[in-house]
Symmetry: C2
Subunit: 340 residues, 2 copies
Amino acid sequence: MSSDVTLKHIAEELGVSAMTVSRALNDRPNVDEKTKEKVIETAKRMGYTPNQVAKSLVSNKTHTIGVVIPEITHAFFPEVVRGIEEVTNDSDYQIFLTNANEQFSREKKAVRALQAQRVDGILISSSQTVDDFSFYKEIINSGTRVVFFDRCIENMGVSCVSVNDRVSSTEITEHLITEHKFKKIAYISGPQDVSVGHDRYMGFVDAMEKHTLPLKEKWIVRGGFQEEAGYDAMQELLALPVEERPEAVVTVNDPSAIGAIQAISEKGLSIPEDIAIVGFTDDIRAELLKVPLTTVRQPAYEVGRLAALKLIQTIENKDEPEEILEVQTELKIRSSCGCS
Amino acid sequence: MSSDVTLKHIAEELGVSAMTVSRALNDRPNVDEKTKEKVIETAKRMGYTPNQVAKSLVSNKTHTIGVVIPEITHAFFPEVVRGIEEVTNDSDYQIFLTNANEQFSREKKAVRALQAQRVDGILISSSQTVDDFSFYKEIINSGTRVVFFDRCIENMGVSCVSVNDRVSSTEITEHLITEHKFKKIAYISGPQDVSVGHDRYMGFVDAMEKHTLPLKEKWIVRGGFQEEAGYDAMQELLALPVEERPEAVVTVNDPSAIGAIQAISEKGLSIPEDIAIVGFTDDIRAELLKVPLTTVRQPAYEVGRLAALKLIQTIENKDEPEEILEVQTELKIRSSCGCS
DNA sequence: TTGTATGCGTTATCAT
DNA sequence: ATGATAACGCATACAA
């Protein structure tokens, strides 16, 4: 109940029909210039705000996009949202933002709500960690336009914008191998059912296999995307007998690396002398750490921009083709890997 | 065009009226148990999703609230949004998030769009930097429910949740005066027309006057909320003749302080020996800086939670009273002030 | 150029 | 318990 003024009210005020008012305000042809002026003036005077809800009901279009992110405090996602906004702002879409907090149940609830709101499309970075695609199959089958970003769910017949995670992960691992001659390298992983979790892990494996280095089971620790997970995973590695300890650790992302660093420090060990470590994300904090973190910079803003563009095209273009877009990362070499 | 199934379709399928279907699905009385079961089963089978747009049109309620923030990359706001979401998630409101990027023109555009979407209310942290309140007067007069947070616009007859900026600013300044015996203290300010900018500056002035210390004009530098502004402002201070240089600097927020620190480092000076500095916000980076930053912790999550609660009460309660809520901050003493 | 009728999907109201 | 009708605010299609 913001503005109770409707087309009808303006029409009555001026003794014309609602249609004339509608035409005048929407700049449609076949309206007398004088009438038009009067209408516009009166609308302004009466404080008229068009009712988008009613418009949507008629046009079956809400000019609205839903955005579902798994984590709002992780700096990557706000930056993606900025990229999305650059696009939506120019093309007059409003965004519904929902944060799933890494919980698939909340994600599902959010998507349902967005469907009920009849958003024109949804941008999703999924928190899903199980191999059951029925939920998104159903959503997509129902005709909802979807574009995934960063954490993609594949083979759903919809577009996706992500970072070349696997290759980047290989590159940063190879840096440890070729530049620093490390052989005993551990990996702190994210959930394997989230695409970035899987891809980054596979990139690590690629590098290790290429250089025929051992992939010891005890050096592959299941962690997660957040600091605590990295901390806990590192504790596990540090609990190994000293001679079995890895020389270097590759982590699934920077928050995880930061948690691991905390564990290393608490143990009284130093980086990179005792254990080298690298991250993934280029978190805002990476450069400021006591030992600046070597990591992979992800162009978050660009991911958001591309995903939004693709979604809007998908919305406005009947048969916009499915596309898998990858944006390129950049290795950020700092000191935590052993470089100076 | 997500789900084309309507009440009518289900009704036809079952040979009943749309009303019966509506009643059944909404758990209303006066529906035969058997019919109800059938309806629910059929709705599920056909993939029915209620059309919230149509519901909104008839009920004049969208179950939607708009959130307008000035800056999404500044960590404070995502944390506020998390607090807001905790509340909206429980009470089944969806949020429309818009980021004004510190531009009042974008903020106005966003508010207009939210009004057109007929959101039930709006949470705003304003980017406005001019003393012209006509915009919000009009918005509020039109009946739109508004609650301001963090950056409040006062005397508009609406509720506001903020941090006790002025007192906190006095406290951190007094820490420099009483604990460290600084007398030559400079201030890098934010825009004076934004409430937090003004209040924090006034808190600084309060402390200086209380201890009868000089408020030299050249030591009050107009900066801004972002790093570059802090950097530029510090450059100005560093350009002063050495004997006129301040011993300590109070800044309007952490990003600003971080920019200033950069300028100090580039000049080859050290913190806190040559110049002590304090911030405001407790940015995620504050603790990780080479010289950890003394600052004021703002309970962002709590600000969001309270603001959302108040707005929802305002929406659902005809005459919910206007309220000015302040949440308490906490001094975070680290090393940049001279403490060890 | 302007107006009337109709429908978007849902629910309130008043029948039956 | 169920149904018919009207209404929410707007725009399309057609008529005047």
